[in-house]
Symmetry: C2
Subunit: 248 residues, 2 copies
DNA sequence: GAGTGGTCTAGACCACCTT
DNA sequence: AGGTGGTCTAGACCACTCA
């Protein structure tokens, strides 16, 4: 056939990009491409499939959405390592539960300073707009791969001088050990999202990469908010698990 | 300029598709495009932006990933209604918590029959491979819009004759009311995914649409599994919320 | 039947990573 | 410097929805 090809659903096998997807899934499943392995370049995948580059990329986006592969910006596509399991009902910090699963967690403080409470934050903290809050941004990695960016707000009244400490480890440990803070209630909210601009850049991923946003609010016995935390995860790096006994 | 354009980051404002995204976000935020409203067609959006259709689609995919818009296959793009809040720690069925939030839930049974337990399912149920299980597939909608497909497996020993009942309402109610089943423990797992083939088709969305998979296992006092449930949600239709008291 | 999104081609230049 | 992904153009045909 001459000119632009017809495409779509020939031989009843569905779109080309799904066929390529299936081929790659199989190669991942059978171990030809192990966890962490780098995929052939997009242009090389074209050769093997006769497809246009856009079509190849569609297959890759599909696999990315499914969490099977991820990309490092302008570097290449890689097979995703297994996800870590996160249980919001357990009050264990990142460093703890990641290590428990045989992985190596690291934390890096991107910046920490005092900010003026925005309207939204003031509502959460029950303070005046413009009141001082500690703001902390951290990047956390598993086995050396950055998996989340978090932005934490803390009321200085609860932990004066907090940001003068080393916060590259467990914030929970510092709050408990140095300030005697006891968290009795957690409010956790999750939703799929897209990682855009700053977040994507900090994680070294392309803007628009699928993610999972976890918002956590921790309260002490006096019902004061201890920690207001936004975690932006690479969506394929985490699996949320909740175990509950029914009250009745 | 002649021939293929240069694109990317002119005027320091980032890619074209993000500029278009921002424009649409604003129109949604300011109310020019209300919840449920239909967006202009892709070809019409081209005119207003001078972009190629592929670029317009990139902007739309971005908004879809962020949950702001959704599509009806081959019909058009629409502004997403607000999500419902789902709390896995509460043992309330879909029909209940959706109604509580002022929305109209509906359920439709796609098929129900007896199947032979696959290896994976047998492991969960602690039964032999090939043992009979009730399999149930339902489509659930909010305000008339299908938001999830669920596949439920139930052990016939726990609820003999279950699939002869009308299951277009609350399965929980039937299990409790007719069979005296009491669920004391829930195991819930969630992860972002892509909705593919059958699921996508049943929801009337394009294959590859972002989704959220919720897997729930309910156990009774004897620790027998009562219900093994896979829910495939449109990702923008749900927000997960967990409220926990810390044990210490 | 007109219009919509879904899929696909075949090029191009760019910013950035890697070596 | 060479290669990778990121962005973009300008077409095309198809399957489907909707009026």
């Amino acid at each position: 056939m001459i000119g632009p090809m017809q495409k779509a659903a020939e031989a009843g096998s569905g779109p080309h990009y799904l066929a390529l997807r299936d081929r790659l899934v199989e190669e991942i499943a059978c171990g030809a491409l192990g966890a962490g392995a780098r995929l052939p370049s997009e242009r090389r995948l074209q050769l093997g499939s006769g497809a246009a580059r856009g079509t190849v990329r569609e297959a890759l986006f599909q696999l990315e959405a499914e969490g099977l592969i991820y990309r490092r910006d302008r570097s290449g596509w890689y097979v995703s390592p297994p996800p870590v399991v996160y249980d919001p009902t357990r009050w264990a910090g990142f460093m703890t539960y990641v290590a428990e699963q045989g992985r190596v967690p690291t934390t890096e403080t991107l910046h920490k300073h005092t900010v003026a409470a925005a309207a939204v934050d003031a509502a959460v903290f029950g303070c005046a707009v413009g009141a001082p809050l500690y703001a902390l941004a951290r990047r956390r990695a598993i086995d050396g791969r950055p998996v989340l960016i978090e932005r934490i707000l803390v009321d200085p009244a609860i932990a004066p001088g907090l940001i003068d400490h080393d916060l590259d480890g467990s914030l929970t440990a510092v709050l408990t050990g140095r300030y005697g803070v006891r968290v009795v209630r957690n409010h956790v909210e999750m939703r799929p999202c897209a990682l855009i601009k700053d977040i994507a850049q900090a994680l070294g991923v392309a803007s628009g990469t699928p993610g999972l946003l976890v918002v956590r609010r921790s309260y002490d016995a006096a019902d004061r908010i201890v920690e207001y935390d936004h975690e932006y995860w690479r969506h394929e790096a985490i699996r949320v698990l909740v175990e509950v006994r029914t009250r009745d």
